[in-house]
Amino acid sequence: MSDSTEKPPIIRFQGLEKAFGDLKVLQGIDIDIPEGQCVSIIGPSGSGKSTLLRVLMTLEEPTGGRVEVEGESLYTMKRNGEEVPASRAHISRIRRKICMVFQHFNLFPHMKVIRNVTEAPIHVLGLSKREARERAESYLEMVGLSDKLNAYPAQLSGGQKQRVAIARALAMRPKIMLFDEITSALDPELVGGVLDLLREIKESGDMTMLIVTHEMKFARDSSDRVLFFDEGVIREDSDPKRIFTNPEHDRTRQFLDTILSEQA
């Protein structure tokens, strides 16, 4: 975090807004995230956590404000000194730095596990088949699925599917990884393993990670920073230790009380 003064933050949201019709889901998000940070995003349902990640992944277009990745605007570009809406190529070039893991895995059901992981490296990154396969095998080994290379997604358990989805995202070697409630669709006994995997990923690299989660223990013990989302704004941006022991806002305290009593 010390060198973040010289380099621009890897992610910067400025006055970011998103509305669906009349429903204002994001109401001015301002935040910088330095490279390599592991950020947990918590907050009540419907507060806009997923929407924030989806805007960064370009799955939703913002209705106001700016998104910057490594100092470059995502949704606009400079042409003849003027800001104009970004071209597809511009978005695609920046999006290459980002990848996302979804709550419902979204594996490609018509491809075997190994092809789920090699498809994008081959056709998006331009790796050779052999390179892509080696890479895929190493990540699948990391997530503990070396024996499932030739299974179809339908033949895997939920936890295994999510591990494949994680390996698939890792194989893109993105600088930024977004995780949207990746354990919420899993049976309780499978959650721990996936969270361990997240920790391992955090330790093993300098990837920037944004993790939307309802697992408070994970947020407290394993992230560098916690953002508390409420009604489309960031109510609290804090150190994990402090937010759990001594939150600044009453809303945060209420939320944590309810959720911690549920998870106790």
Binding site: M57, L59, M100, N106, F108, P109, H110, V124, Q155, R168
Partner: protein, 224 residues
Amino acid sequence: MLESLEFIVRILPVLFQGLLITIQLTLGGIFLAIVMSFAAGLGKLSKFFPLRWLCIAYIEVFRGTSALVQLFWFYYVLPFLGMDITAFQAGVIVLGLNAGSYGAEVVRGAIQSVPKGQYEAAIALNFTPLQRLWRIIIPQAVVSMIPPMGTIFIELLKNTALAALVTLGELTFVARQIRDDTLRTTEVFGTILIIYFAVALCITAVMRTGEWWFSRGLDRGGIR
């Protein structure tokens, strides 16, 4: 009875000539129908509205009018507009365009039924729009396209008989000539009905195989 059988065996080689043309019509029509189904089905989903409207117009016109009227129009009207066209060409074009207009709706429906998450995952992995369609969406959509496409192809096969009415010497035309020469209606038409039925069974078998092939791995719902 035996005499009838002998008669049928005697006319089989002639019928076979007609069947060859019927099969050419069917295959040509199916090929064009597939092309048109994808072109118009995807075009109808386009954000570019002139293209979308063009596809909607094509689909509605060809679904809304009769196949035989279309055939007559192509065969009798086009020459007046300066385009010479043989009966076979008119047959293939009309069969293909007609079936394609139905197929387009099948393609569109199947594409739309692929879960949104699949598009999102493809975007997250930074596939280009074309790659998304070709590598991720279409392979999944094909499975649900195949059974209704099979029905459409069988309708196409049945419609090949219409070409007899613009004097193309396909199976029905040949049969009609034999019947007019011999007046043996039951044997002649009975035989070609069975032949058509057999060809339809072949189409069904091919489609079943295709469905099995494309659904490997899909929807096994956790059963190992």
